[in-house]
Symmetry: C2
Subunit: 244 residues, 2 copies
């Protein structure tokens, strides 16, 4: 029996060691990007709450629609910059009722700063671990690609056509099942070179960028040299050729 006890103890220690070593940097990156995505959702919820609430008091200032305007509005509420127009349709609320709204606006401002801090941490992690991917697609898209793939290793082993469609699985399977249009890009659509391109070039550019991400991820996974600049230059040159 004594032998078995020793055997068990050794095994336990080894397993604990293995669990300990299983926490790699890409796990932390995945955790961090998930957290940042949660924060984005949270800030959106609170901004929606605030605008709905504030429009009882000042409906004319809350008509603005896009996101950028919303943040300006939040800032204006914090700094008490908004004057009600004459003949406003909004209710005349006392200071007591306005205070919780202003506090909410301040809280949103704080959360916004907090999100920026967390993004800085993510960027640092990405530059340390995946300098090439980060150079090509920015830290946040890179992290989301890794999150979707499951780990940096899995991303490195993927064919670039899979990388191109990461995040568009639903559309892809709909295409296979019902012969609807095949999606041309997944997460990488947020890349500025794609999102600012004319609609008909989206597919080509996505394929090109996915190719380079594939190469970059393999270099990053094997801790190779920094080739991000070269890859990015190649992308830009090829896009230049496309236009001609």
């Amino acid at each position: 029996m004594n032998d078995f006890t020793k055997y068990r103890e050794k095994n336990l220690i080894e397993t604990k060691q293995k669990i300990k070593q299983s926490v790699t940097d890409d796990l932390l990156i995945i955790q961090s990007i998930r957290h940042i995505q949660d924060l984005s959702k949270i800030i959106n919820t609170l901004v929606k709450d605030l605008i709905e609430w504030y429009s009882y008091y000042n409906p004319e200032s809350c008509k603005k629609q896009n996101d950028q305007d919303h943040y300006i509005l939040v800032n204006d509420i914090i700094n008490n910059n908004i004057k009600k127009i004459k003949d406003s349709m909004g209710a005349d609320l006392s200071e007591d009722h306005l205070k919780p709204m202003i506090n909410l606006a301040k809280e949103i401002g704080r959360l916004f700063d907090f999100k920026k801090d967390q993004e800085k941490y993510l960027e640092k992690m990405m530059i340390n671990n995946c300098p090439n991917i980060t150079k090509i697609v920015s830290a946040s898209i890179g992290a989301r690609l890794i999150e979707h793939a499951g780990s940096l290793k899995k991303l490195a082993l993927m064919p670039s056509s899979t990388v191109q469609l990461l995040g568009a699985e639903e559309a892809l399977f709909r295409h296979i099942k019902t012969k609807s249009k095949c999606p041309r890009h997944g997460l990488i659509v947020n890349h500025p070179l794609i999102s600012t391109a004319p609609q008909k070039e989206h597919g080509k550019r996505a394929r090109l960028i996915a190719n380079k991400i594939s190469i970059a991820s393999r270099v990053d996974y094997c801790k190779g040299k920094f080739v991000g600049d070269k890859l990015l230059k190649e992308i830009e040159e090829k896009i230049g050729l496309m236009k001609k």
Copy 2:
């Protein structure tokens, strides 16, 4: 034509006035309780994020399960009160990796305080506008009843059997459609006199409390005298009789 212009102007002014006056205190109560419910969800999301993240570093301390423990854990992380046990399975993370987690814990603490502040505002509003309802079912349940009904007026006009099932609509319609069990209570199940009662008394107590809420909401809507104490006493007496 001149007559019509005048007519139009007068009409505009009147409509604006009407919109202005349509912002009543119960609308603000509804807005406030919705916001507080959003905050609860937000805090839960962030706590979940934090615990998942922190357990890479210190899995043994994150085993605690119920909500109360989670808040203790968050507090401990803020104050750096947790020591890793010897032979921990958690990874040895550097200060750089721990900092964003500690910041997240601090942010959760701040949001928790912020939620308390917003709840104070709601309570003040409820005591000013619906003192009787607040006395019987507490500010937060009262506000949720008003939110569900749509306004204090609508709540006051409801039969008490509807009040009893507010918030259990899904179960009620399932009962009507498929002859499954009829729900015995909706939102008011959170009332301490119901939630702490033995299971088989839930229905009776819910009916009793819903009756009194109905009376209270009518008194509140008509700005009547404060009868909350009397109603609450009646509830407690009847529950005392049930036990005998």
